[in-house]
Assembly symmetry: C2
Homo-oligomer: 148 residues x 2
């Protein structure tokens, strides 16, 4: 596995979140593959194709005044021209201002994501994003119901 290639994938993954933070819809559009893409936002159904996926980001950006992602546990798995990235998104976000010049209330959210990238002649492009809410710690599965 090429170290440099992993770094390029990590950079593409970071760029995805920084573009969301800046609310730059045009750049976000350029980060995705031309076809075959899919996206699942936390709690949402599946969105398929550039039309549905990009429209969802336009809606999210229109309703988000402020958003910041603190990424942890970023892991990259490379195979051929595909890269699979998992990470934890520690999100701080706020809706549109309730009064002129003020942010809406800030909300913290814990989301885990699987991001799939394809290597193209124009760099690593997003093929799939799937984010989901973390509802419980993994330790909680270790209960006493396991048959002995």
């Amino acid at each position: 596995m090429s170290r440099t290639e992993v770094e390029l994938v990590e950079a593409a993954n970071t760029t995805f979140y920084e573009t969301m933070e800046r609310g730059d819809f045009d750049e976000l559009s350029s980060l995705w593959l031309d076809e075959g893409i899919s996206c699942i936002h936390p709690g949402w159904p599946v969105l398929s194709g550039r039309g549905e996926v990009l429209r969802s980001y336009a809606l999210i950006m229109a309703n988000t005044e402020y958003i910041q992602f603190f990424l942890t546990d970023v892991k990259v798995s490379l195979a051929g021209d595909t890269a699979l990235v998992t990470c934890t998104e520690n999100i701080l976000s706020g809706g549109p201002a309730e009064e002129s010049g003020e942010l809406g209330p800030l909300v913290g959210q814990l989301v885990v994501a699987t991001n799939v990238f394809r290597r193209t002649s124009d760099g690593w492009k997003m093929w799939s994003h799937h984010g989901s809410p973390v509802l419980a710690e993994s330790d909680e599965e270790e209960d006493d119901e396991t048959p002995s």
Copy 2:
């Protein structure tokens, strides 16, 4: 895109769910790649590597008396040796019997999944599974807050 190849991927995806329905841990283990795998169950944090991933399935199988998946909206996107499958899992499941010979109460659940497969000399193997609860219909995002 080869029609036959898409059918093989669909078959691998179906086999994954049928193996879960049968609770066949050994076959489930054989469906995953040897390395680089990740898995996110609905509401769970990221699990990485065969140790964590397969242990989670052993725990789930031990605590699931009955599970049936009705798959809808299965979509396959192929690129090189990687296949990306999205689908909706309409799940009916029940925990261990509360009295001898009886099932626990059956629970319905709506989950959307992104499954990533790699082509190997031994057929299509799972690289990643990410399932998440559907909390709202996509129509609900079309509110009136979008700036005109």
